[in-house]
Amino acid sequence: MKEYTAPRLDRPWSEVNPGGIVLDPGISVTYITGTWRTMRPVRDQAQCTQCLICWIMCPDAAIPIVDGKVDSFDYDHCKGCGICAEQCPVNIKKPHSVTGELGKVIQMVPESSEGGE
């Protein structure tokens, strides 16, 4: 994806694109939807089996892929919907690296608390 800076919202009429066309594919990344979050997903990377279910289920393409593996979350865009945690099929054997709780590899924590990357 191209690197973008947020587009200007103050261009005069003579400078807007004809017909309202948008020429910058994917420039929506400059809009930070992460601020919508009240709960944040956290992943225990060590216990993750890389099933990729969270990746395919994420409405916001907010689960980055590094070397073919899911790697944390894109907190600039994750809206905290919780689908990834709900759909995570892996029950962990050891307490979660972030929450210290048993349960799933992905767990939701309140946005105000410490945790995540």
Binding site: W13, G19, G20, V22, P25
Partner: protein, 398 residues
Amino acid sequence: MVESKFLPLDGATAVSQAMRQINPDVVAAYPITPQTAVVQNFSQYVADGIVNTEFIPVESEHAAMSACVGSSAAGARVMTATAANGLALMWEMLYIAAGMRLPIVLTVVNRALSSPLNIHCDHSDAMGARDSGWIQIYAETGQEAYDNTLQAMRIAEHPDILTPVMSCQDGFITGHGVERVGILPDEVVKQFVGEYKPRYALLNTDEPVTFGAWDFTDYYFEHKRQQSEVINSALPIIEDVFSEYTKLSGRPQPVLDTWEMDDAEYCIVVLSSTGGTSRAVARGLRAQGVKVGIVKPRLYRPFPAKYIVEAIKGCKAVAVLDRAISFGAPAGQGPLFTDITAALYNEGITGLNIVDYIFGLGGRDILPDQITSVFTDLQQIANEGQRGAMVRYLGLRE
């Protein structure tokens, strides 16, 4: 100048000949009287393989313009045709095509709008679309309908315009009326219209573009202002195309078709086929020594305000003939009158005697005697110095 070949053609067939020569990439159309001949003829060209066009036989006029929008945004050269209720059904898409700056050419064979249902000529269909952002050209004859179709393509696709063009002619009167129409050689037309090179195209998948984005309060206003600037700055470019075509065809293509206006004391301003009837009557009156003239705008949007004011401001009295009513406008005047009187005011002309005649609604014939009566009225107005009724009716049973 290139010699045209003259054929006996009705106006609708003349337009389909122009479309055949343009050989657009896509035509999406739906049948409606009195436009049907255009689609029928063109379908035959497709069936016979003499055009390369992809013809989309859509299920409605709304779909016709929707498909045209898709094809044009895809990067294709696109044409369609309609009339009356069909144009009304397209309404939403007319604004969208213009707002997206898609250079679609639409031929309109003007017909009355329902209700009551009527299939015959008036201008209520296209006049209702006058604010939709389309350039509008009106033809007096089948010949003009042919010539205008070719020029419309060039105007629409001009890189500084990129705005759809509606090319209108009168339903049945010229649409079905057979006349002698000069057709340029195919190769000459091909060269004149040239190759369309879209600036942005959906089918250029290597450079993905988004057409039709949601435009919030941040930018909608700016886009509309830009659109307005483009259509209103188009006049000189349109004149260039007109003059290029004049040289090519030997047929003059003025923005404003004026007849004997240099010293005219009384004049009629009228669009389309009634221009011919008016000129025939005026010729007779001139022979009797009455200084009459005719002004027939070929271009209605962008409105050639200054040209019209310049042409008529020296007259003793002027009649505007409107083939449509702008319902609820002052005294029920027609749109052409509204535009002309506004133009006069804006140019500082306030003392001109000018009246409006509504005529020909639903295909009611306009007869030479009625045109004569208009000139008689104008002389009376000038002599008495009293305008009298601002809006009058021709050919209406009182």
